[in-house]
Symmetry: C2
Subunit: 642 residues, 2 copies
Amino acid sequence: MKKLTSPDIRSIKLDDAGFFGHFINIVRDSVIPYQWETLNDRVPDAAPSHCVENFKIAAGEAEGEFYGCVFQDSDLAKWLEAVAYSLMSKPDAALEATADDVIELIGRAQQPDGYLNTYYTVKEPGRRWTNLRDNHELYCAGHMMEAAVAYYYATGKRRLLDIMTRMAYHIDSVIGPEEEKLHGYPGHEEIELALVSMYHATGDPLMLKLAKYFIDERGREPRFFDIEAEAREGARRNRRYRDPGDYAQWHRPVREQDALEGHSVRALYLATGMADVARETGDETLLDACRRLYDNLVHRRMYITGGVGSSPAGERFTFDYDLPNDTVYAETCASIALCFFMRAMLGNEADGRYGDTMETAFYNTCIAGMSLDGHNFFYVNPLEVRPEASRRNPEHRHVLPVRPKWFGCACCPPNLARLIMSIGRYIYTVDGSTIYTNLYVAGDASLHTAEGDVTLRTETQYPLDGTVKVMASAGKYSLALRIPAYCGGKYSVTLNGTPLNAEIRNGYAVIEREWADGDCVILTIDISPRRVYAHYKVQNDAGKVAVARGPIVYCLEEADNETPLGGAALPQSSELSCEYKPDKLGGIFEITADGTVAVDDGDDSLYRSTPPARKNTKLTFIPYYTWANRGEGEMTVYVRES
Amino acid sequence: MKKLTSPDIRSIKLDDAGFFGHFINIVRDSVIPYQWETLNDRVPDAAPSHCVENFKIAAGEAEGEFYGCVFQDSDLAKWLEAVAYSLMSKPDAALEATADDVIELIGRAQQPDGYLNTYYTVKEPGRRWTNLRDNHELYCAGHMMEAAVAYYYATGKRRLLDIMTRMAYHIDSVIGPEEEKLHGYPGHEEIELALVSMYHATGDPLMLKLAKYFIDERGREPRFFDIEAEAREGARRNRRYRDPGDYAQWHRPVREQDALEGHSVRALYLATGMADVARETGDETLLDACRRLYDNLVHRRMYITGGVGSSPAGERFTFDYDLPNDTVYAETCASIALCFFMRAMLGNEADGRYGDTMETAFYNTCIAGMSLDGHNFFYVNPLEVRPEASRRNPEHRHVLPVRPKWFGCACCPPNLARLIMSIGRYIYTVDGSTIYTNLYVAGDASLHTAEGDVTLRTETQYPLDGTVKVMASAGKYSLALRIPAYCGGKYSVTLNGTPLNAEIRNGYAVIEREWADGDCVILTIDISPRRVYAHYKVQNDAGKVAVARGPIVYCLEEADNETPLGGAALPQSSELSCEYKPDKLGGIFEITADGTVAVDDGDDSLYRSTPPARKNTKLTFIPYYTWANRGEGEMTVYVRES
């Protein structure tokens, strides 16, 4: 089985000025420092975190009770991971010293047997490993392992890697196939993918063995979580109740799962772990399962924005073609997890569709999770919002019309921070002497191929612009440029100014040649505004259309349009015009079109014999990721087509 | 202030063969006997009731614990009330003997001080009147009072009336303006309207005084439920939390309320009580409040089907123009309560709009609550159903695609039974020498007017047919026939075959004359199929149209149409054809029209650049009240107009 490699993130230097530069700078300059204040409870008007304090108490250096969610430790882990990526791209001695200090604190909070978890250490010391289903011990360990690996790559310092290696050995002493061990797996997946990272960083086969065990054991009969619940709840247990298990993906063995089910973040972390383990072990049955999950997702369960999770109850997937726009969940973390899954799939096979899905999730739901100034965050990313419904209809209460400052359960903001800071990991994959470009990001890359080292310089304003210029270094290798499916084949490639008919292979235009230094490839992708329609079985979108430009989905917002937005209609014949607005929303291409909107015609009857009057109007669309940056108002991605 | 009178239900004899006859016969022959078996726990596959058993335990005639909801007693009350109406229209000695027996049991369950409530008597004898907000003591008393009045009218027997009079005196000893009494009111309104009925039946002014007290006290500062909660919860209470109170309509004094808020059944029972008290006391400020509540309701908060309550969370009203079709609540009981409110308003003033609203609620949501065979019942009456969503999307879980047999909380079925059996009470109101006909129902009526007694014979198949024939008796009086707004002024009246230009007054065609015996008025209302559009602010219905015929709203059902129904479209130019189908769904007028439906065009992409292909189809509409009688399938009231 062929494997693709992903270049070391340290070998990718992104330009500050590119589209990503803005987001990276915000995270570095604003999110990471703010988050540290939050973790230390120094932000007066934010929800208390107590996260660092919990570690101090666990280390015996402070008095007090554990406070926060059972997975509170993971907030610190995600922060450390984001810090590590930040240090890779821009050294900061003070920040590194702060991180070193808190890593030492983590070390002191680790128990003599290697166990690390402040909730159990402080609050229920005798109850470790009694509730894998609900209590996130393995999840927190996974996040800290990811932080450990990133921090090791960033600084060369092994301290956290060693701490988490000890924790992995402790876990292996408690969980595994041996009769005396628990035959368990995490109730919230995450550690599977983290253990594969640990395997890469340490080379220790125990890491891969544990990851594979968690994947293989999941959902097997007799089901571990039934046995665990019986042991925990005993006489209190309702024995007639059988947990369907799909909420946390233990309804059947993973190789027999055909669709992502249940809690969407869990499901996608699991899928990522499956793809990672498949890559390392060459397990084709596992990879086949990943392909099935992906196919079902992109054909039946993903919002046009790359959002996933159709229901707030369980933050979960529901069923095929069920994509309500207004009661949606579409958690930021779930789209982040989708990026992880796509990256893991690209490690298994070069298929441009994974890149397409990854960029859809990234440029829409992921970055919509953060306000343009980096101070406010969405968990839920709706495709249709009426502020009064959010306030007064309980089914819409989870859909916030403006991003709040921070959350008591702070999963999305730090998760988004680490994704943005590590975007360099998502750009390239290398297979032998072929370099696959999966995202178009301005910057410099040094890549190892089977035929030797290659440096590439990319200049582009993508996705604001459809032109990508790549300057190659000398050598014999192939450059495979992802051609996004959205362009419908409308693209062109030139080499040193001469048009080139590059072969298309699995969604990539492949240029195989002996390169000379300074060879310049220009890829031009048609990103002109276009209409997008949903499959006819998506009832919520029937008769409606969305507008997109390149990978960026657009929306109507009350600040630019007459309300109610539900009354707007876009005639099939209207042209979509596009204009750059440098001073609007950080600089956007605004799309306008002639449309109509229902208006007050003086008849206040609730039900009437003639349709409400309409008038002509100009419909103004803005990029979805920029919505809710101008106060509270209605928003919709889909508009009725007339 | 003028008052209208409502004739004694015993003076109205409905034809068995009319549209109502079917429903009345079902309730008498099927629902009432079945319900009695249920109340006695003799239906093996239905949820246990324990209702009669609770009374036996309270009477000291059985051992055991109270079982059921805190308002379980009300099930027996509603059954007794339905029985009373049934006995009025068709004597049944065995049924009456059963009722007499259970009334004696109720008497034995009454406590020496007049208190009657099996929950408190059996389960918490020391805690009476400590939780008026949640525990339904007054609600149960109200229902039993309604039963007592109906049974007294039906049989002349005062036993239950006396029992409930003693209970009313007991309540008066506990609750009232005097310093030593509780300054309370019910958490679930119902007793207000019941006390007015008791006042009519007994003439005892204490009944009206109590009803007025509950109305006047509600929502006043300091708010009783805050004080009660403080007393009950003491130290456990979160003192920073202030209950908004709108769920149960105590957010402000009733005369200051502008819209029906909160739990929709509660809100409409309160509105009914307000209208009843306004009628009895001549209180114009109270009547004004009722008018405001009504205006807001019909202009902003009522479904086209007469359903009310936009959210299942709290079974409640949400906000103006928020009428989701698929996550709706629209409880059967709420539309029943709306009929009560309209009847009470018609007791205050002759306004055809109240009759219009009443018949909309009755012919659509109310009777849709019951299967055509009377064996199964809906609580929730959606306007759009996808069975898979009901099973797999938590926001749709309350929306059942088929009527279940009975419910553990059995409020709707017996409530519907009593409404149907008492429909005679809703037909006429009399003001001096004017007889207002508010519903068109075949049968005979004897009415007292200021100018003497009148008998009317009505022959009609309304609403299946638009022709109503009324034969009058001799005398000088006015006949005022409600002209439904839906006909848009398309109606005609003849007197003994000669066209008549009757004056229209407040929605009624008024014929004022000296009648001769056998004078025959024929009213013909245009009920040809029509399109109905919602107000432009109802976002869920934007671009959509509904089909109706007379007061009956239609729907598309999967049994007759291609799915997904969300993909169907009705061109603006399509003609609506209507045909009687005697063997379909108990005999209906089916409406058909040329339409289109989205189809599988071979492209399985979730998002695509062209709209899904469409094909021509015949759209078949059936009356909404007949849906879900042919197994599980999709249903929609609104269809996209193209």
